[in-house]
Amino acid sequence: MDPIWWVLIVIVILVVFFLLIYWGFYNRIIRMENRIDNSWAQIDVQLRRRAELIPNLMETVKGYMKHEKEVLENVTKARSALMNAKTPQKNIDADNMLTGALKTLFAVAENYPDLKANQNFLNLQDELTHTEDKISYARQHFNDSVLSYNNTIETFPGMWFAKRMNKKTREMLQIPDAAREVPQVKF
């Protein structure tokens, strides 16, 4: 056969090969972006869940903790701030305020044995702790997703495809009492 045919065949194979890789990276990048969006939504879901539990908690404790006005007010104020937070950073700040206010409330509740014996209160306490853990894990997952995504679009060869797709790196959440060290996985 004419050498020109061989050259053409090789070119076609290379083009197909390149397209397949492009396909792979394209899908991968999209999936990672979706995961980031999904994990962000999850944080929101948990924050809302916690906000929903607060009125219940207030109802349960107010009969017992009549003289702790300031403590109770701090919780209510923090909750409103959270409901009105518009940016991700304001979200986190309000959330921290609420966590602090709740911690104080539960610490003060230690002085009220009747309250501590109330099953409703105990269940709410369990659920609030659980929701706060979920918020913390949701944030962790968000940061993990952003890290994977950033790694993919910043390293070779992902960065080429990312540029074509006009993808920018995302920012991770800055959490004050920051997450514990990510363990060095030697595998």
């Binding site: 995961r35 999850q42 962790q140 994977s148 996985v185 595998f187």
Partner: protein, 297 residues
């Protein structure tokens, strides 16, 4: 390596394992058919659909099979310990970005847990009541993180499929063996030249289940290390799982372990271990090595 790379590698491994298994399967069926029918084509026509149906059925009912073999029951949210277990599973699911698996409990003094299911969407995590009683919160979290990793890595899918195939291969080998005793084979219609092939077929039948099992076990051990590592990533606390494993090692409960040996790999620690054997035949790597790796993170 990233989690994504591990998952991709797992999926590729599945294909390799499945191909290998399919190959072994075909050899066994050929041998079976040859010995019984002295005709490969009839064997294939008869054997292959039967084998496929068997694997499909074990795969479809895998979750129910495992759960009833373990005598597991759904976790009771009114019981505080079990409620906290449900909470832990939810939290790990969020850390992994997966839907929350169903939570089951096995009444047993042993400290153990397993994960099963065909996809993350219909996965199940089960822990023993012994684990709930004897482990502290961070230790239990480490264990659940490990199980969640198995689900995230699609280990449960591979484990279920390979268990089905290994089972089918062993089943055929057993049937053949028993039928030999009742003189079903070797009427020698086609003459002595085929006696050699007959012997070959028999040898293959004996070896196939062994090869299948060895492949399965080798992969299974590597996956356990991976599940430990990823679990630690979810909890950000490798020490929790390390402490739990140490407790499992020194735990000597009096009641017998439940569940069949086949599904042992789905558990976090081999429920049938008497000593810590680190041979090619064990489904889990030695506990000391696992603890060492966790503590070096």
């Amino acid at each position: 390596m990233l989690m994504e790379d591990h998952i991709r590698r797992n999926k590729q491994l599945t294909i390799v394992v499945c191909t290998l298994m399919a190959f072994l399967f075909l050899i066994v069926i050929f041998a079976f058919g040859y010995i019984f029918f002295h005709d490969m084509y009839i064997a294939l026509l008869f054997g292959l659909p039967v084998a496929l149906v068997y694997v499909l059925i074990t795969y479809s009912f895998s979750v129910q099979t495992v759960l009833s073999a373990a005598k597991a029951r759904p976790a009771n949210p009114r019981n505080r310990e079990e409620k906290l277990l449900i909470y832990k599973v939810e939290e790990m699911a969020i850390a992994a970005g997966l839907p929350t698996p169903k939570v089951y409990v096995q009444d047993s003094e042993h400290i153990n847990a397993f994960a099963t299911g065909k996809k993350p969407e219909n996965a199940v995590i089960c822990a023993t009541t012994g684990a709930l009683k004897k482990l502290k919160a961070d230790e239990l979290e480490g264990v659940i993180g490990h199980e969640m990793s198995h689900i995230a890595n699609r280990d449960i899918l591979i484990a279920t499929v390979t268990i089905g195939v290994v089972g089918a291969i062993s089943l055929i080998a057993e049937i053949l063996f028993y039928s030999m005793f009742w003189g079903g084979a070797g009427r020698g219609r086609k003459g002595d030249g085929n006696a050699i092939l007959m012997v070959l077929a028999m040898v293959l039948i004996i070896l196939a289940p062994i090869f299948a099992r060895l492949t399965y076990l080798a992969i299974s051990r590597k996956r356990e290390y991976l599940a430990d590592a990823n679990g630690a990533r979810f909890t950000r606390n490798p020490e929790g799982l390390a402490k739990a494993l140490a407790k499992i090692k020194s735990d000597h409960p009096t009641d017998k372990p439940k569940g069949s040996k086949t599904v042992a790999p789905l558990y976090i620690a081999n429920p049938f271990k008497q000593i810590n054997i680190s041979s090619v035949w064990s489904t889990h790597p030695p506990i000391d090595e696992r603890i060492k790796r966790l503590r070096s993170m």
